[in-house]
Symmetry: C2
Subunit: 452 residues, 2 copies
């Protein structure tokens, strides 16, 4: 039933998704209180413990556009129109992500978070509280305990509606995990990552900046994303164990030898890579799946708290922003009745969260291995041609995931699997490199249509 009440909404976590959700709710005139464990990043400096930059694409932009912020954020991002692969000899290959102006944006996680905090704080009905760690939740009553991380002072609060936007290691999710019949899994990759820096030179980028750089090496890879200040943040995705691995590189000489062998062309751009290698943390990569996301009629998880994924499709933040946009639609459609909003939110989002989790895992193999192979580039060319000839019928998977906010992730995954079946067969044809333009593209598209 429709309601004119505006429940007081409590959010745990003022990260990217918590801040954006706060803006959506504030615009609907809900009183919103946001509690963040960390100090105010805008004063203290950003210490997220997560990657430094992110790729923002259409779903994230649609989430921002819903509160009128897409253009402003685009301006603090750097457009990347494709990926540039570096082989061990330093040869480059380029593959556009989409067509024309289609691009993804490299944005600084810290800068974007600060921007969203500034925006959410403009609403008089929003209160932001920092240094507040949630130490306990009682789900049936939606009461929770906060402890000030400096003063240790505790307060007990009762929410009318409670959201956990508290990230991959969500405390609210831990409480839900302990309830009967909660299905939950956390699965780590055998790979971790380490960030390294290519500094600016005279304020300029030392590599082409409108592209995502990849050094695909089969079992591991290095990537680089541009920052506004002219630097690049490189990330080495590398096994924890085995040879070579984080475990096997023990001495400075090991690290130098490893980089000389695999990433020789980037060494001149990485003045401190040996020191950084031993100083910067080695971080792990987790996929978290949990069900339910919703407890009772007034408690829910959102963003990474509900569905932390690995970063290889660049969709973690985008999926979280999409959660906010879809939740907002459901709030409108259900006229503010939380007892029907939250179950519908979960039904709408969970299959898509599951799909992007799977896509992100699959894309790791593509990025670290396949993109370095001529067959991969040929396949991308064939798919681009199919898309060019039949723009509605053959939309490459990457395009469905990245340059659409309308095709659900689950639908993209389903159609992507059908495309993969077809393309795998086509790629086995002899002499394709020479003959691919003679393929019967219409027949290929007809096959896909018949399988859809």
């Amino acid at each position: 039933m429709p309601t004119n009440r505006h429940e007081h909404i409590h959010l745990l976590g003022a990260g990217l998704v918590g801040s954006l959700l706060g803006i959506y709710l504030a615009k609907k005139n809900y009183p919103v209180s946001i509690y963040e464990r960390r100090p105010d990043f805008r004063k203290a400096g950003y210490a997220g413990g997560r990657s430094i930059n992110l790729a923002l694409s259409d779903r994230g932009l649609a989430g921002l556009a819903g509160v009128g912020l897409a253009e402003k954020v685009r301006q603090i991002g750097i457009a990347m129109y494709g990926r540039t692969m570096h082989d061990t000899k330093g040869n480059l290959a380029y593959q556009p992500y989409g067509v024309g102006e289609q691009c993804i944006y490299a944005v600084s996680r810290g800068k974007l978070n600060e921007f969203l905090l500034d925006e959410v704080e403009k609403y008089p009905n929003v209160k932001l509280h920092f240094d507040q760690r949630c130490t306990e939740v009682d789900l049936p009553t939606a009461t929770f305990t906060l402890q000030h991380t400096q003063t240790q002072q505790q307060q007990h609060l009762k929410a009318e509606v409670l959201f956990g936007s508290d990230g991959a290691f969500s405390g609210l999710r831990s409480a839900i995990q302990k309830t009967d019949r909660c299905n939950y899994s956390q699965q780590y990759l055998a790979h971790g990552y380490k960030e390294l820096t290519i500094p600016a030179k005279n304020g300029q980028h030392q590599l082409e900046k409108h592209t995502l750089h990849i050094w695909p090496r089969g079992g591991f890879m290095l990537i680089a994303l541009p920052n506004l200040d002219g630097s690049f943040t490189c990330t080495l995705f590398f096994p924890f164990e085995g040879n070579p691995s984080f475990a096997s590189l023990q001495t400075e000489q090991d690290v130098i030898h490893f980089f000389e062998t695999y990433f020789a062309d980037v060494i001149p751009l990485l003045p401190n890579f040996v020191e950084e290698f031993f100083t910067n943390p080695t971080s792990s990569l987790v996929t978290i799946r949990t069900q339910p996301w919703v407890f009772g009629s007034n408690v829910a998880l959102i963003g990474d708290a509900a569905h932390a994924i690995v970063p290889f499709y660049g969709q973690g933040m985008n999926a979280g922003f999409e959660d906010c946009r879809i939740l907002n639609q459901i709030i409108e459609q259900e006229q503010g009745n939380w007892a029907t909003i939250l179950p519908q939110y979960q039904t709408a989002r969970q299959p898509n969260a599951d799909a992007i989790a799977e896509l992100a895992l699959l894309n790791f193999v593509e990025m670290r291995d396949l993109v370095g192979k001529p067959e991969f580039l040929l396949r991308k060319k064939i798919e681009a041609k199919l898309h060019n000839l039949f723009p509605q019928q053959w939309i490459p998977l990457y395009t469905m995931v990245t340059f659409s906010a309308e095709t659900p992730y689950s639908e993209a995954l389903r159609i992507g699997k059908l495309q993969d079946q077809i393309m795998t067969r086509i790629m086995q044809q002899p002499n394709l490199t020479e003959n691919w333009e003679q393929l019967d593209f219409e027949q290929i598209v007809r096959e896909l249509e018949s399988k859809k």
Copy 2:
């Protein structure tokens, strides 16, 4: 390196596995302290929150035999030589579990736990503490906090070696789960269970007692295991949602109608089933997988804490007792060096825990559905014949799991899958009911051997 020191060993949990592990360690002269959250069951009465009776089979008996207790436990069990299927018309079908004297034993969980507590307490180097809840663990230092459940008094202890034998909802495992790169999952079935009682009549069992009774009904089932006092404990395994389900049976009339439709032959034996249906709890069924089981050189999980499984192969306790027996072997082989014992223990047990978890899930379909079908009984007859003709080459899966302590679960699962491929093909032959004795049994066994 071998060591003559006997570290003080702390066990969290004095359930079945904790008690047996205590006995194994006490026999090796380790000082052992066991902390149990619940009151002493022997005084307070058993309130496990788990099923009332269990099936003890060869692996469990081997675990008990390792400390000389198998015969004594056998005497408080009731031998079950096969399963008796009841169809909706009350017709019975019988299928032996093995050959000759091969049987599994119905034992009372409470009685067995009390027996093992009495046994472990006989050792002067063992201290048992009840009403002690572990509220916090610091893994790197193996320190933990205990709180007395009555007095709330706290104590902080440091273990030299710490085992979590604290069951499916292990607190020690929760601590390990929060460490980086711990893979963990908890998956609930869509079915739950409810226990009902067939009382004794003049001290006698009202159904044949040397068998496990099953009322297989496709999507759900009722089973009954005999108790020493002449009663049977029935368990209804039934979906939580749907029709029929726990959710759909709302009134007394619903329950009566349901039992009349599906379990008419057992109604006369269940004097209080309607009341029990509404009074007894509806419990859930979970599979828990976690990795690692071991933290550092001196902290480990054992039994359900490491690998809670669904009950359909009757192997939960048996797997836990096998953990104890194998751990004991490794302690001997490694001459008490825990830094090598614990990693080897995990390597030895984890693949087998994974295998029995999978087997237990598969067996649910067998028990609730397949056992009611003539093809299933025919298949079992063919496999029994194969086993009879080639006792070393064709050992039915159930026999490998239940009547062996030597074939690892993982090996049983592997061979069982090969047998299943072969038998699935054979079962498709026409007129098999009439012709099965003309099968080329030697060729079938040769096929299996070639695949092994």
